[in-house]
Symmetry: C2
């Protein structure tokens, strides 16, 4: 039976090897010939430990692969090293982008993130999620609430720990403060670009009015027009989908009501309406100018490459993490919103002198 190959679980049969139990602070202490108090001190970079001892302890820690038990620490300090993220389950561009960026920033700041998502109807589910997050010992919570109803649920919920909400254009309450990019500005940028190109008949294919983003982008469109002394044109309210935009645009074509220029509330929306036009021989940008919103991957390779507005999710995540950390530590931080940028490509052109 010699030479039997047992590649892993090598300590399986050893009589007194401690069943792969994680080493504790006491193991370290006895191996280093000190008391657990001393080990705790070096773990926490506390003073009152000589350089020599510190070295020795550190060495033992490395040797036996000791890792601090977070549960025990959390229990006694009730401090935590992770932050919670509550998101809606939607796979849409904005929320997902924010989520990924948040995770990245948190990691760089040394925080783990635990995320929970909720689905419609948002009611108790939001409160429950907040509670669960609290239970897991997060120090603060960031809510990605693109949908108005979800934000309302958050406002109505109660929570011991700091809660920050990322919701475009929503207002802060004493319990939960909000942060977001200045999407209204983004919409203004888009619309203004169209105005600068000489267009006066500028329609809006809006997103869902159940979303803050939809509301705010529409508001920006209106405001830009108003400020330029133009009367807002057609505004159709949809659901962000290419399908809706396609069908709505088809309708416009049938009714011969195709506008000069269109600000689409999202790139996906733009995609749908551009196809509807293409199928009917209406060219973008020659016949109608279009600008989108989001700058999704590939929008630079649409036909035509889409002029759109880009949000900086990394900056957003960075700022909102800063804000949350500030709240957790009782600091006060600057809270001016991030500005999106216009990226101009080929889907909008100078108004043509036709007719």
């Amino acid at each position: 039976m010699a030479g039997r190959a047992v590649p892993h679980e090598a300590n399986e049969g050893l009589p007194d090897a401690p069943r792969r139990r994680k080493p504790t602070i006491n193991d370290v202490a006895s191996m280093a010939g000190v008391s657990f108090g001393t080990v705790s001190r070096v773990l926490n970079d506390a003073p009152d430990v000589s350089a020599a001892t510190r070295q020795r302890v550190l060495q033992v820690i490395k040797d036996i692969g000791y890792r601090r038990n977070r549960a025990a620490t959390a229990l006694v300090t009730s401090r935590s090293t992770s932050i919670g993220i509550l998101s809606d389950g939607s796979p849409r561009f904005g929320p997902v982008g924010t989520l990924m960026a948040l995770e990245n920033i948190a990691r760089k700041k040394g925080y783990a993130t635990t995320v929970i998502s909720v689905e419609q109807p948002y009611g108790d589910s939001v409160q429950a999620a907040l509670d669960t997050l609290d239970d897991t010992g997060v120090g603060g919570i960031i809510v990605i609430a693109p949908v108005v109803d979800m934000a309302a649920a958050v406002w109505n919920a109660s929570c011991r720990i700091p809660v920050e909400m990322i919701a475009a254009g929503a207002s802060s309450t004493p319990n939960v403060f909000t942060y977001s990019e200045n999407q209204e500005l983004g919409a203004r940028l888009a619309t203004q670009h169209l105005i600068d190109l000489g267009h006066t008949d500028i329609a809006h294919f809006a997103g869902s009015m159940e979303w803050f983003d939809g509301r705010v982008r529409k508001r920006g469109w209106e405001a830009a027009l108003r400020d330029a002394g133009l009367t807002p044109g057609l505004c159709l309210e949809g659901d962000w989908s290419p399908r809706w935009a396609y069908e709505t645009a088809l309708q416009l074509v049938r009714e011969q009501k195709v506008p000069q220029a269109i600000f689409a509330a999202s790139d996906h929306t733009a995609l749908g309406l551009i196809r509807a036009f293409a199928e009917n021989g209406i060219r973008v940008p020659e016949d109608v100018s279009v600008v989108g919103f989001d700058d999704i991957e590939g929008s630079d390779y649409f036909l035509p490459p889409l002029t759109t507005v880009r949000q900086d999710f990394t900056a957003l995540a960075l700022m909102s993490m800063e804000v949350l950390l500030g709240a957790m530590e009782g600091r006060d931080v600057d809270r001016t919103p991030i500005a999106p940028t216009l990226v101009v490509r080929d889907s909008a052109r100078q108004v043509s002198p036709r007719k």
Copy 2:
């Protein structure tokens, strides 16, 4: 001072209200007139407690909003109610889709998820992330490893708790077992579709060979061709980006080497090459048939609507969660991979009888 509106933080000024400390099991016990042991029993649905007492305790719990301290529980039981997800930081379609789906499934199964992402170079960072995850007390870890290097780092890492890797076509090791969709099948489906349409000159705009997905999709393309008795045509290896596809396709046009049909490794790739063709008067699908992979949002509204293959991330997440949970509980579960499906739209057509 009567009637003053103080909607929240109501107990702020009360003299002897315990500074909003979370109630403990002892608080519940004393209020219900039992010992903490009894409360623990009702908390854990243990027997040996009379119906009446159970009711009373439950009522108190509800009244004072008691919630079990997870850290304390974890400390003593060393069991956990959350699972860890390790992902690469890439915002690409596949990984993100998987991530979102995993989170959803986990929540439905009553698990919280804590996610950490790592960036290149994957080396110690992967081991560190695994350790951190372990520290936070997760019961198992799912790694989303689209990139070969990352998977290698996982294979080389060591971890006390079960680790499952989602990596297309990678093999299991004793330490970490893998699971994935059958992307090779997906690629075969796409290629076979082109073959069935009568094409014989079928090129492949491949993804990155640093990705499992890129490798496996290429393998599927080759296999389908071989099985049909056809010799594989041109294969260009790229990086998933529309830009690369665009420039590569342009090159093909210049060299007059545009193939009859193309299987693009991703919808984004398809997007780029279609634009290159469009700019040069080459029509899809009239002049060249294209099928993509991913079925990203909006691909049904590309010009033309893209024939592509769709992965079922929900099913994938469900299965892999099942597998992980099985491993955590020592069960054995079925591990046959999910099959993607072909969704045919307008970008591929019967071979034209030109020339």
